[in-house]
Structure formats: structure tokens, C-alpha cells
Amino acid sequence: MKIFKFVLSLILAIGIFYALNTKFGQIPPLGKFLSPNQGVWQNEITEGEEKAYEINGLSAPVQIHYDDHLIPHIFAQNNTDLYRAQGYVTAQNRLWQLEFQTHASAGRLSEIVGNAALEYDRGQRRKGMVYGAERALENMKKDSEMLGYLEAYRDGINSYIESLSPANYPVEYKLLDYKPEPWTMKKTALLLMYMTDMLAGRDSDLEFTNFVNKYGKERFDFLFPDFFDVNDPIIPKERDWSSWEVSVPEVPASEYMLDSIQKVMEKPHPDNGSNNWAVGPEKSYSGNPILANDPHLQLNLPSIWYVMQLATPEKNTFGATLPGALGIVIGFNNHISWGVTNATRDVKDWFKVKFKDENKDEYWHDDQWKSTTKRVEEIGIRGEATYYDTVVYTHHGPVSYDDTFKGNEEKMGYAMQWTGHLGGNNQRTLIELNAAKNYDEYKEALVHFLAPAQNFIFSSREGDIALWIQGRFPNKWEGQGKFLLDGSNPEHDWQGWIPQEHNAHIKNPERGFVSSANQHPVDESYPYYVFNDGYEMYRNRVINNFFRSKNKFTIQDFKDLHSNNYNLKAAELLPHMLEVMPKEELSKEELAYLEEAGKWNFYNEIDSKGASIWEAWWTRLNRMVWDEVRDSQEAIDAPFVYQTIYLLKNYPDDPFMDIASTPEVETANDLFLASFKEAVKDLNTWKSGLGDYQWGDVKATYAGHLLQALPAFSRFNIPIGGNSGIVNATSKNHGASWRMIVEMSDPPKAFGVYPGGQSGNPGSKFYDDLVDIWAAGEYLELNFMQSAEDQTGVSFTQTLNPKQ
């Protein structure tokens, strides 16, 4: 009996230990997770401790003053110490995010979450994300100065990781039951690739090819024009390019490829975009240039941005950093300020490749069989055997799609050529910008930046403003890369590059301001081929019209413009719709909504009801116009919004207006009526769910935690207006991820805010403390300390000392 009891209690003890120490599905190991000495209770902490740490490799002590929103102001004696400290401090505040984003970039999420992420991971590998990162790292390693900084940054992060015990791991590690691994320089390259993919990973070549196959080239050219009937480009039309000696490749005589695949990988979100603008001395209230930037990205917690001041005796820089990359990405120093928006150029093309046989060892190019190379991608899967994926490479790049991945035929593949694989030295551009003192140094710094192409806006204390569209762009023949290209035809290969000095740019334009909002970079007079890959058509015109509207601008004007909710798209279509609506066919309830819409002032304010009516109506209408495209089983894109509205107003009888599923032939006016009736149903649903239908409630903006918006760690129903296509581009889960305004006074006066918080710990009060400030359109006055001795606004100080 005693033996039996003993054995039984032993089994029970082992059983309970196993049960509480193991993760089951989504449930964390509860014993570990809830124990006060090791679990989440240890993360129940808000930063604020005055402390000194000893870390390896420092040459002198580093002082870190934290202000009352946990922005670190780092003062080091030299660059190497500075980047080591940046790594340490970033890890201290954002460790889990730092690692998770590079895992996402590298296609390693299956290691953490299991085979649910396998398809995603394969996609990342097949896009050549790791391949591109490796090439970037090779390049950066050749630059011995950069290599030293990368190593210091890496070692700084690792000093922090080594100081941790499991009890101090960020809460996400405890939830998913894994632990941080050492940082490597490759991870910095992977983070840069993550940004490159987010901003320059979108293309529509295969969708456009499918469109042409289905509806013909003539319809395509009409619906997807290279230039719309109006154009307010980034580089003002007055810019004269005639002094350049330019050569553009001849258009080859060959045919377009008229077949394509049905399914493609998920694309980066189309709402990834940005605004920036700057006024020169003559348009500024004070005579100092003023510059602003707001990159629009997915709204996440922890935020993609981490704000820092980085100072040495030689330089002093403030702004937003990307955890994982060195230096400030968008910011200012005592001499210059700069910001970026996405250039949205077509830098990714697809080539149809014919293999000799199913082994894919050789492919046909230039009338001969050429050898492929292969990369075996090892994808670790939690709780399962490793998955091996062989990715074939041609001289173009990775064959992303083949018979093992979304492809259809054994001997066919689709190879990607992408500037993201070039392996630039973006890190050098950032480091040089951080220290740049004038226009020439800014211009020099940009040269190293290859992808993702950005509109780099600039202003200086000296009074210059400028904008360079910087990246490496293939010099294409007209039409090249709009559709699927022939991978066997050498004339379809990229023929060379647009010389860097011929990248479109402008310095001190006559109009007194520079700006960009992802619109067309140039007008027809630019001598190189640039096609319309989905340029923005609304924010840019609102911004430029604002700066043309008066002579002097203040910081308050800049703030107002950031929060400007004017909906130009609605203003260009809604009056027309109201005019042609057959009111006699509306019910009393519908008429009431229509009347409300008529009273609307075209501003998507939080409390606006008209905005909700417009958005419901437009969404339904757009879907009805392109029902043929949206219901299609294959990968195909609906034409651009601007052209859709152009069509609705000028070609109401276009065949696309017909709703395919009805026997009648509809026109635009029929669609206005039908979509309005559908919209009223949506509005009634919102009304019954929310009590009312004010735009802010309907839109319900949220900032989701990086783990698929885990509700416990996310913020929902953030009260803010705007929408995509509006200067305040805040849609449901996208928007201004960092707002910055800098006046180049002495010292510069700067304001900034982002929808998140400086701490990555959901247990910290600094996890999301900036969200409400941001939503209200308010800013932090950035405390640009001029020396480490300056104690104004310091909340607490930490010191990093060299380890003896």
C-alpha cells in the first residue's frame, strides 16, 4: 500500500511539473508564466531607476539621461562607444521586438510559432530576403569604419542579453516560451531588408499581365495611364532637365509574355506611404527653414520607431531610430534636418524562366542553356522536423514561383530581379546624415543608399531646402517591367542604371517649398522611363495647394497640416454623385442619409457623420465598379482610384460599369444608386452596433501588438479622424507612425510624437503613453540637450561604465 501511494504521488508530482512547465497550443506554461519569481509578475515594472551598468568594450563612461517620456539622451565620447550604447539601450527597452522583426524578415517565424507560419517563412526565403541581407552585409563589411560600428552595436545588444536571467526576459518570450539569441551583424542587414521589402516590395507586374490577357492592351492603357490628366509631381514641373546627356535603351521588337500565374504572394500594404515637406527662409515666419515628416506605416505596438538623442563631442543628433539599425533614420542635428517618404518606384521585375528539365539545373537564356545556382533554405519548425526548401537562382535573382510554390508547370519558373538584392550600404548613408552639416554633405551621404528608394527631404541652418529621390533605378526601355518579362531574351534584362546624379532632385526651388507624398516623382519631361506604379493622387495636391495658399508659414501651420482631414477624393466625386442621384427612387430613410451627405464639408473629422456616409458609399461603389476584377479567381488588380473616379464622371457607360451578375446593363448612375442603397444598410448596421455612426467610431483605428494584434497588448478604438488618401492618413490600422516638425533655429526647435511608447514592455506605463497625445494631434516638445551637463527635463540618469 505504501509503495502504491508512493508511486502514485511520484507520478502526480511529475505530471503536475510537466503540465505547468509546458506550453500547450496557445496556453503558456502556466507555472513558469504565473510564478512571481520567474513569470510575468517580474515584468510588472515601469522604468525609472538611476543605475550604473558595467559593460565590455567601452572606452569611456556613457551617460544616458531619460526624460519624462523615457526618451534616452545618450552622451558618449566617440562613435564606437555611441553605437555600442545605442545597441545596449535599444535592447534594454525593445529587446523582443528587435529580435522578432529580424526573425520575421529572415522567414524564421515557424521556429517560434510552429508550422502556421511556414507558408509565410517560405515566401520570405523565396523573395530572397536572407540572400539580400547577406549581400548587404558583405558590402557593409568592406567598409571598415561601418564594420567597427556594426560590431559595437552588436556587442552592446549582446551585453544586455547576457545580463538577463529568464526572470527578466520580456513578457512575449514567457508567453511563447522561448529565449533571446545573440544579436549578429546579419540581423542589422535583415532589419534593413525588412524595411526594403515593406517599402519597395510592391509591384503589380503579374497582375497587370493578367489584366492585359483578359481585357487587352488598349483597355489596360486607358485604365492604367502612365500619367493622369492632372499631375502635381514631387519635382516641380518647372525643373528643366535639358542640360543632361541621357541615353535610354531602345524598346526591343519582341512580344510581351501573354501568360502568367494565378496566385501570388501577399504584398506589402498599399497604405504604406508618407508625407514630408519643408519651407525655405522666405516662406518661414522666422526666416529659418521648417521641415516636417510623417511616415505612414502599420500601427503596431511596440511601435516601429524608437526615439533617441545620440551625441558625441563631434555631433549631436536627435530623431527616430529603427530598432536594429544604427543611428537616427529621420531626424535633425544642429545644422540640418531630414526626413523620408517612399519613392514608390518600380524596382522589382519578373522574368519567365524555362528550365531544361525538372532538376532545374539549367535555364534557357540568350539561345543557350545556362547554369542555375541553388540555395537550400532550412526552415526550423517548432515541435516538428526542419523543412528544406530549395530556391533556384538565375542571373536575374531568385525563382520565387515554381512548381513547388504557387507555380503550375514543372519546367517553368518566375524569377525576380529586385534592387533590394543589390546589397547597398544604407547604414553609411544614415551615419553620414547624422553628422552632416550642409547640403553638400547631405548629397554625399545619399550616394550609398540603393533601396528602398526614398524621397529624402532636407533643410539646413544655412537656409537651403532640397529633395533628392534617391535609390538605384534600372534604366529601362519604355514599358520595361510593367508586365512579365521574357527570362530567355537578353534584351529583356535590365540594361544598366540611371546615373546617380540623374536621380530626380531639386534644391531651393523658386516656389519656396519642397514636398512629397508618394505621388508621381516627375512630369513627362524627365528623360528616363518612369511608369505609374500606383502613385498617390490626393495628399500631394492638398499639401502643395496649402503651401501655395499664402506667403508665410508657422510651426502651428505645420501641425495643422499633419492633422488635416480634408478628403479631396470625396470632394472630387461626391458633389457629382449627389447631383445625378435619382432622388425619387430613394426611401425616406435613404433620403435622410443623402441629405446628411449633402451637408458634409469633406473633412473626415472624428465626429463627422457625412464622412461615414461617404466612406460607406465609396467602398460599395468601388467594389461594384470592379466586380469583374474582384470576383476573379486569379491575381489581378483593380485600376487606380483616381482613374476610377475619372471614369465614373467622364465615361459613365464604360463596359466595366455593368454588374456582371445581373441581366441588365448598368451605367455609372445606376451604380451610384445601387451602392448608396447598400451603403445605407452598412450605416444602419453601424448605427445599431455603435449607437451612432460618427466616423471615428466607425473607423475604429487600432495599434495592434506585433503578435497578430494580440488584444491584451493592443490599443483599440483610438479617437482620431482621417483616412488613407488624406494628409492625416490614419486608416483603420495605418497612419502617421512618427510625426516630426523641426525649425532650423539655433538650436533647432523640434516637435515629435508617435502612436506608441518608448518601452516595449506591456507592463510599463511608457508602453503606450504617447498614443493619446498622438491621437489628439499634439506633440512632445523634443528636449534637444546641448550637453550632458544640462539637467533640464531629465527624469533619471543611467551610466554605462567600461568593465574593468
Partner: protein
């Protein structure tokens, strides 16, 4: 009397061992005090259960109240306990108590096996 001794010993061992061992320090504490101070019947489970539940509840409450329950209120959504922090603290106590109770039982049985051979 024995119950009280076991209770106090479990807590003391639990506090000390938790300083340098992972979460299962409390299992070891209950096991040791179960082997040192023998208890009869259900007490062998419930005394260490109560001791560690109390230890974890007090400890969790102290850590969390110092930070205005910022994280606890989120974890109580995650688990899901409808955001109820008190419930989360109680669940924490029950989890710790369960582990300790069973470990105590096992300690008790170990002692019993030894005793037979004496």
C-alpha cells in the same frame, strides 16, 4: 502543531529557494517540508497548498500593486479572465498551491517509504 510547522517551513523554504531556483522552487520547498514534517491525510496536500498559494498571492500582489496593476490587467485579458486582476492573482495562487500540494504529498510519501525501512 505539525500543520503549523509544515506551513511555516514551506513558506520559509519557498522564499529562500525561489531566490535562486526557477518557479519549481516552491515544489522543492513543499517536498522538503513534507519529508521533514509529516502530515496525515488531506493535510499533507492542503497545508503546502495553502502555504504556497499564500506566498504567491502576496508576492504577486506586492509586485503588481507597486506598478498600479499595469501588466496584471492585461494578462487578465490574455488568459482570459475578463480583465479581473483579483481573479488573476487568485489563479496564480491556485497554480502555485497545486504544484506545492502535490509535491508535499510526494515528500510525505517519500518519508513514509523511508520510515518503513527504519
Amino acid at each position: 502543531m505539525k500543520k503549523l510547522s509544515n506551513f511555516i517551513l514551506t513558506i520559509i523554504l519557498g522564499v529562500i529557494l525561489s531566490l535562486f531556483l526557477p518557479w519549481w522552487a516552491v515544489m522543492l520547498a513543499a517536498f522538503l517540508s513534507g519529508a521533514i514534517v509529516r502530515l496525515r491525510n488531506v493535510a499533507a496536500f492542503f497545508v503546502p497548498f495553502g502555504a504556497i498559494a499564500l506566498l504567491w498571492i502576496v508576492n504577486a500582489w506586492m509586485l503588481s500593486s507597486a506598478n498600479d496593476y499595469t501588466l496584471a490587467s492585461k494578462i487578465a485579458v490574455l488568459l482570459p479572465l475578463e480583465g479581473n486582476v483579483v481573479l488573476l492573482i487568485l489563479v496564480t495562487g491556485v497554480i502555485g498551491g497545486l504544484a506545492a500540494g502535490i509535491a508535499g504529498l510526494f515528500g510525505n510519501q517519500c518519508r513514509a517509504i523511508m520510515a518503513k525501512e527504519d
